[in-house]
């Protein structure tokens, strides 16, 4: 027997999933144990072993690999609990990280915040100016050295930083992605003085034009790298001592893994690991269900997250923003709005109902939890509408207070708007659905796709109560609510089921098309780098595929569009073929006639991505089949529920998920009670239990 393990270390819980590759999948949930998170990880592994009925040693000895995701790095960045680092920059350009291209006030902020200029400030500096030092050197846009590196000065600067007690040094010089020689020499000189110093070069971490985001990325990498190393090294040691057979792999934001010994060096690429795990889980399930295009939605207490899978692959973005600082690390794109189940509702001075972005989670939770919260949330509205039972979630372990929910709605929404409490509740429910629908539509359309070609997967505690509503306007074909054995540890499942994905890129801004030999030389270099990196993973791969991309734009444009590059040999025609692809995609996104080839085309960044699949199928198992479609055996009760402002409260059947079987069909309006969530099946919608135990909603 052999196993694949996925371990997701979240802020509250550590989830683990083990698959034996033969259809058996088990999961476990244990509390996360900061600051020694490896303790919680070992406990989760113990629980998994117990679940499988074997010892930890036996489990690890038969484990082909552990894929690991953690929120520790991203939380450290968000909360500022990071290593003290120094920066070495090109003389005259230290302030790039302080000037922040002036956009530091607004990066990552919502439009209504940007408009409120009096309250927008830059974030606290990543490092104080006394730790940001300059060295004499200069390289130009073509990579040519104009002023040589002053090595004596570098030594002096390095000593200053070492004397200040920094844990890591980030080096970001102008145009280093065109010519990394000076950065590499700076690293050598630092290591002459401090051999163990963690040094990060911008030309390694983010070889991309635009020095502000490159510096920001490099600095943040230095801030989290040393601590990730302090966490992973003992964890790996412990796992090896316990007999782990295969490697410990760490999930990256981009959706593939790297080995634990190399992860600290590229720490910034792992900050989105847990979010990506969820999308990868969705991708694997989609493979099993035969869905090519999927929108994954994950609605938790505070956030609503959405990812896209197109043609079987997650949609990626070249970067993200944390604390108003940009991160240049490819990531599975996750769109966020602050309206999870705990988003607070209010009526503003102009009489507008608003939902979010503040959430009740951090303070007292929804009013109906009875923990002292007095402002109404979606959860309160759902309770008043009968969608949630007053018995509460988790089989009655968390009862809910309808009186408090009604009071909160009355005070903060109903009375200010002149509505009844029930009307206020349905207004909230529908505004939430409309906001979520808008977000999803924008995400899909802006990526150049038609929502009608997609199905939606709805995870998270608060998603299934709303998904039928927020998907209706989208025009999607189906909504799948994953409810099988790993539903509550979906991200860990995604981790276990991930491929190894590595990418490499190089920036070479120039007019396009370039001669075929330039294309060939760029991609040969990138792919050789990737093959070497794969060799270091210590895993046997079943199959390795390479994808090539180039970021193109019309001359003088500043935003690029990533376009696929053919895999076969390059000819004189190849450049034109790539431009044709670019123009087709451009018009799909921006509308017919938007293209403007007269302006000429430029290439900025070349990228290759290696996808190496592990020889290990992590397959979700089938659940028991029902004899027929009638779900009567799972009928629980009937209660008045309001799902539509036009029909009001109607008696609605409630079904118990535990007694539903594959093949059962539920006709809306109906409610399905699941221990961790509630699924709403509105009128006009049919819910069918599929072979994996998911509830599939389709519109009539």
């Amino acid at each position: 027997m052999s196993y694949a393990l996925g371990i997701d270390v979240g802020g509250t819980f550590t989830d683990a999933v083990a698959s034996d590759g033969a259809g058996r999948i088990v999961s476990a949930k244990t509390p996360t144990t900061p600051p020694h998170r490896e303790v919680g990880v070992m406990r989760a592994i113990e629980e998994i072993a117990a679940e499988l009925g074997i010892g930890v040693g036996d489990l690890l000895a038969e484990t082909d690999f552990i894929a690991h995701g953690t929120t520790a790095s991203i939380n450290a960045l968000v909360q500022g609990t990071v290593a003290e680092v120094g920066l070495i920059a090109t003389k005259g350009h230290r302030d790039s990280i302080y000037i922040m291209n002036a956009e530091g006030r607004t990066l990552g902020r919502a439009a209504h915040e940007i408009q409120d200029t009096l309250r927008q400030r830059k974030p606290a500096p990543l490092i104080p100016k006394e730790r940001a030092l300059e060295v004499t050197e200069r390289v130009d846009h073509a990579g040519k050295v104009l002023v040589p590196l002053d090595e004596e000065e570098v030594r002096a600067r390095a000593r200053t930083l070492v004397d200040q007690g920094v844990e890591a040094i980030a080096v970001c010089l102008l145009w280093s992605f065109k010519n990394p020689a000076h950065e590499r020499r700076v690293r050598e000189l630092i290591h002459e003085i401090a051999p163990d110093m963690y040094v990060t070069l911008s030309s390694d971490v983010s070889p991309r034009i635009r020095e502000f985001s490159r510096t920001s990325t490099t600095l943040m990498n230095a801030q989290i790298g040393p601590r990730l190393r302090m966490y992973l090294t003992p964890l790996q040691k412990r796992l090896e001592e316990n007999g782990l057979k295969g490697p410990l792999l760490v999930m990256q934001s981009e959706g593939g893994t790297i080995t634990a010994d190399r992860a600290p060096e590229h720490a910034i690429t792992t900050v989105g690991s847990v979010l990506s795990g969820g999308v990868i889980g969705g991708m694997r399930m989609a493979e099993q269900l035969g869905h090519r295009n999927v929108i994954t939605t994950d609605v938790g207490g505070t956030t609503f997250l959405a990812g896209l899978i197109v043609d079987g692959e997650p949609v990626r973005a070249p970067g993200s923003v944390v604390n108003q600082y940009p991160i240049n690390a490819a990531t599975i794109q996750v769109h966020t709005i602050g309206s999870g189940g705990g988003a607070l509702a209010s009526v503003d001075a102009g009489g507008n109902l608003r939902l979010g972005p503040q959430s009740a989670e951090a303070v007292h939770g929804p009013a109906c939890y009875g923990n002292g919260g007095t402002r109404p949330t979606n959860t309160d509205a759902d309770l008043v509408l009968g969608i949630l039972s007053p018995r509460g979630l988790l089989g009655g372990r968390k009862p809910l207070r309808t009186d408090l929910a009604r009071e909160a709605l009355r005070t903060h929404v109903a009375e200010p708007l002149g509505l009844t409490v029930e009307e206020a509740a349905i207004a909230l429910h529908e505004v939430q659905n409309a906001q979520a629908g808008d977000l999803l539509r924008r995400a899909v359309v802006q990526a150049g796709h038609d929502p009608r070609d997609f199905v939606v997967y709805a995870f998270g505690g608060a998603g299934p109560a709303h998904c039928a509503g927020y998907c209706q306007d989208l025009g999607v074909r189906e909504v799948v609510v994953p409810l099988g054995p790993v539903a509550s540890a979906f991200s860990a499942y995604g981790l276990a089921a991930s491929d190894v994905v590595l990418s490499a890129e190089l920036s070479d801004p120039s007019a396009f098309p370039v001669p075929p030999d330039v294309l060939a030389s760029h991609y040969t270099r990138l792919e050789n780098d990737l093959r070497r990196a794969l060799d270091r993973q210590q895993v046997t791969f079943k199959e390795v595929t390479m994808e090539r991309e180039v970021d193109l734009r019309y001359s003088m444009q500043v935003n690029e569009l990533a376009v696929g590059v053919p895999e076969t040999g390059f000819t004189e025609r190849t450049g034109d073929e790539i431009i044709e692809r670019f123009e087709e995609r451009y018009e799909r996104i921006n509308g017919p006639g938007a293209g403007y080839s007269e302006a000429g085309v430029q290439a900025i960044t070349y990228r290759a991505r290696a996808k190496a699949s592990l020889d290990f199928p992590v397959v979700l198992p089938d659940v028991a089949r029902a004899d027929g479609p009638d779900p009567a055996e799972a009928f629980l009760e009937e209660r008045p529920v309001c799902l539509d402002s036009r029909t009001g409260f109607v008696p609605t059947p409630v079904y118990d998920y535990a007694r539903l079987r594959a093949g059962h069909e539920i006709t809306g309006p109906a409610i399905v009670d699941v221990p961790t969530t509630v699924v709403v099946v509105p009128a006009g919608v049919t819910g069918r239990v599929d072979r994996l135990g998911n509830l599939v909603l389709s519109y009539q």
Binding site: G92, M100, K122, A434, Q435, N590
Partner: protein
């Protein structure tokens, strides 16, 4: 409006009452309208859902423009905007980009309705292109607007607009701004609305005529398509919304959004004191060769829930420093929207109903054809905006609940320097024209509780950006020796103004010959980035060409010049309005504007000044001479010596003001009862209506008619007394005598007013009607 050219006044647009406008639209153009009853019938739920959708649609317009545009101005600096309007052009939703454009988009639609309905007609699938600053849709000829009517079932339902600054639309100088223009005929040609899209098809003849005028036809062509795409995408989504909810409902929501914004702003105005606040500012030099200061005036009267902005007293139109009426409105909305309506949705049509304008004709801010107006938005309009910001801040400062909204003036204008030439790097020969965009990183004004944001951008473009140096060096044959935040640039104050920065460029080593420079900026002598409540102004703008530097084009350099002192060569100070060249052996230095401070710098906590010194925001010299900070040898604050140094500085103020011999009144805690605060330093005793100093309790004089101003100690000294960031020799730029004027409490000598102004500049004269 009284153009000397017969027929020119036809091409002007002013706000027109809705009923009058309706009478002027021929019946051949059917309008979609709703009555008042329908407007009130929309329920809260539908209102919310549709409002959110319209908000999302406008955001997408901005994203489309940014994604597609070829223009640095749009993609890197966000100098553009867009709107959704109702059938008569009232703005339902606008973007948070160039705020001033909001003052002109509706006017362009009004003009189009009045002048294009019959011939060539306004029909489904049409779009109109316009860059006429008298008509609107932009503030100078560089602002090119595409106006798109939306039809539903044959009726004109509404409009969308997309406007972006184009780097070059022709005229005698690269970049289309000409500092020596005698009139608009020496600038880029203004173009009234032309039907550029007809029945959904881009008209090749019109588009070609449009791009043909430009030195950057590809860029202009790309942006034209970007604007068309943004309008088209918005229309599709609005029509989808109409299909779902019905045209009447969507229109009712649009109407209510504007009504709601209006009532929220009026509610806020009612909570603020009544009165009249006034301010005077200057445009330095009216064009190449001029050496005068030209005054802008504004007096804002706030009564109950309405505002009146009175610009009378502003100088007559002259030189290149003029803007037509849309620019005057822009001057108001530039700062009124961010400062008074930042927390109110920008359903701008509703916000525009809350103020009235009083103005003379043929002035700098209400210029008639054919005045040169290419500098309109960043000259007189922005200058007026600074004055509007100042009077709004003084009104807000007198209401305790709104003091957190008080902000000193941000960077007073842009530091325009258009560089052009032929890029011959790598054996090429490609013409280029571009303003230097690093200057977008201006400093923000200080607030009552916060220092101004350092290199924070622009108040008038809330999402302003500066490009990366690497992007500039990639696009243009320049090398940045440095780009940095400038120590001491932020206006000193109890709260410090946000720092600005400087950039220094040389030609790339592969270049040869001269590049052309067109420069423009005001705030080099009479600072526009003023501080409030005794805070000092931010730095003087300074633009230089250093001729014959020691390391031309960095050839063979072993070291990098780290500052002006390292460059060698001879300095040429660039004028406020002029042209120059950047030779192969020269360096171009631009030091743009920071924000003003708030409150007397001697009241800044010593620890905050120390931290400023550590973070290189304030130099040790300025810390000592401007803030009175004394540090011990170990770098910690010497509290006693600091107190003494500050007392010495107060004594100096007394001496300069002619108060000799008297002891300084001790600074204590503010009096709690029976007084109403006017700002950081002054309060009025409600009973006696006497103004007192909140720091020492000294009575200053009666509030009525600003009589207390006579009781303030006044000193007028050399400009550099305000700090090392103030230019030392005004005679380089203008003939006027310029001084640093401080008005201080006669008791404790706390500064309540600190300005760099020409001699004879009027004293403050505010009328706090609620209490006087």
């Amino acid at each position: 409006m009284a153009s000397t050219i017969p027929g020119a006044d036809e091409f002007t647009s002013r706000p027109v009452p809705r009923e009058e406008l309706l009478r002027q639209i021929p019946p051949t153009l059917p309008l979609h309208r709703i009555d008042e009853r329908q407007a009130e019938e929309v329920n809260a739920l539908t209102y919310e859902v549709v409002r959110h959708r319209l908000w999302a649609v406008t955001q997408e317009m901005g994203e489309t423009l940014r994604r597609m545009s070829g223009s640095h101005v749009v993609t890197e600096s966000n100098d553009f905007n867009f709107s959704i309007c109702d059938e008569l052009g009232e703005q339902v939703q606008v973007g948070a980009y160039n705020v001033g454009l909001i003052g002109s988009m509706d006017l362009a639609i009004v003009w189009t309705l009045r002048n294009r309905s019959e011939n060539p007609g306004i029909e489904e699938g049409d779009m109109f292109l316009c860059n006429d600053p008298w008509i609107g849709g932009g503030l100078h000829q560089n602002d090119a607007a595409v106006l798109a009517p939306i039809f539903h079932e044959g009726r004109l339902f509404g409009w969308t607009t997309a406007i972006a600054h184009q780097v070059d639309l022709g005229g005698p100088r690269p970049g289309s701004f000409s500092p020596s223009a005698r009139d608009v005929f020496g600038e880029a040609v203004p173009t009234p609305p032309m039907r550029v899209v007809r029945g959904g098809v881009l008209q090749r003849d019109v588009a070609d005529a449009w791009v043909r005028r430009s030195r950057l036809p590809h860029m202009v062509g790309l942006d034209l398509r970007a604007k068309i795409a943004a309008n088209r995408n918005a229309a599709e989504q609005i029509l989808r919304l109409i299909d779902k909810y019905g045209a009447d409902t969507v229109k009712a929501v649009m109407r209510r959004m504007m009504d709601d914004a209006e009532s929220r702003l009026r509610d806020k105005l009612r909570t603020l004191p009544d009165g009249t606040w006034s301010a005077v500012g200057y445009q330095e030099q009216s064009g190449t060769g001029d050496r005068d200061l030209h005054a802008l005036h504004v007096a804002m009267t706030k009564q109950d829930d309405r505002l009146v902005f009175d610009f009378r007293g502003t100088a007559g139109q002259t030189g290149v420093i003029n803007c037509p009426y849309p620019g005057l409105r822009a001057g108001i909305v530039f700062t009124m929207l961010p400062l008074l309506a930042g927390d109110i949705p920008w359903a701008a049509g509703g916000l525009m109903r809350c103020f009235e304008i009083v103005t003379d004709e043929d002035t700098l801010t209400n210029a008639s054809f054919p005045a040169a107006v290419g500098k309109g938005p960043f000259g007189p309009a922005w200058g007026s905006g600074n004055l509007v910001a100042e009077v709004i801040a003084r009104m807000l400062d007198a209401e305790p609940d709104h003091r957190e909204d008080v902000q000193s003036i941000c960077n007073g204008t842009t530091d325009l320097c258009v560089v052009s030439g032929v890029d011959v790097r790598g054996g090429g020969h490609k013409g280029f024209v571009s303003p230097v965009f690093d200057v977008m990183a201006g400093g923000y004004g200080a607030q009552v509780h916060h220092d101004g944001v350092d290199t924070g951008g622009r108040l008038i473009i809330p999402s302003a950006k500066a490009p990366d140096v690497e992007m500039t060096e990639y696009l243009y044959p320049l090398l940045a020796l440095w780009r940095r935040e400038e120590t001491d640039s932020g206006g000193p104050g109890r709260r410090r103004g946000g720092m600005s920065g400087s950039v220094c460029y040389v030609q790339h080593p592969d270049q040869s010959g001269d590049m052309s420079l067109v420069v423009s900026g005001t705030g080099k002598v009479a600072n526009q980035n003023v501080g409030l409540a005794g805070g000092h102004p931010g730095n003087s703008q300074l633009d230089l060409v250093v001729r014959g530097i020691d390391v031309p084009q960095l050839a063979g350099a072993r070291s990098m010049p780290g500052g002006l002192d390292d460059l060698g060569g001879t300095v040429e100070v660039l004028p406020c309005e002029g042209e120059s060249t950047l030779g192969a052996g020269d360096a171009l230095y631009l030091h743009w504007q920071a924000g003003g401070g708030y409150g007397d710098p001697l009241l800044r906590p010593a620890e905050d000044v120390r931290e400023d010194v550590l973070q290189v925001r304030v130099s040790p010299d300025a810390a000592r001479n401007v803030y009175g900070l004394v540090l011990r040898a170990d770098g910690e604050v010497d509290a006693t010596a600091t107190e003494e140094a500050r007392a010495v500085l107060r004594h100096r103020r007394a001496t300069d003001a002619g108060l000799t011999g008297a002891a300084l009144a001790p600074i204590g805690t503010p009096r709690p009862d029976g007084v109403r605060r006017l700002d950081d330093n002054l309060a009025v005793e409600v009973e006696s209506r006497t103004v007192i100093c909140v720091h020492c309790g000294t009575g200053i004089g009666p509030l009525g008619k600003s009589a207390f101003v006579e009781g303030l100690a006044r000193r007028e000294v050399a400009p550099t007394e305000a700090g090392p960031h103030i230019w030392h020799d005004p005679s380089v730029y203008v003939d006027a005598d310029v001084v640093f004027r401080q008005l201080c409490c006669p008791g404790c000598l706390t500064a309540v007013h600190s300005r760099v102004v020409p001699v004879g500049h009027p004293l403050p004269h505010d009328d706090y009607r609620s209490w006087a």
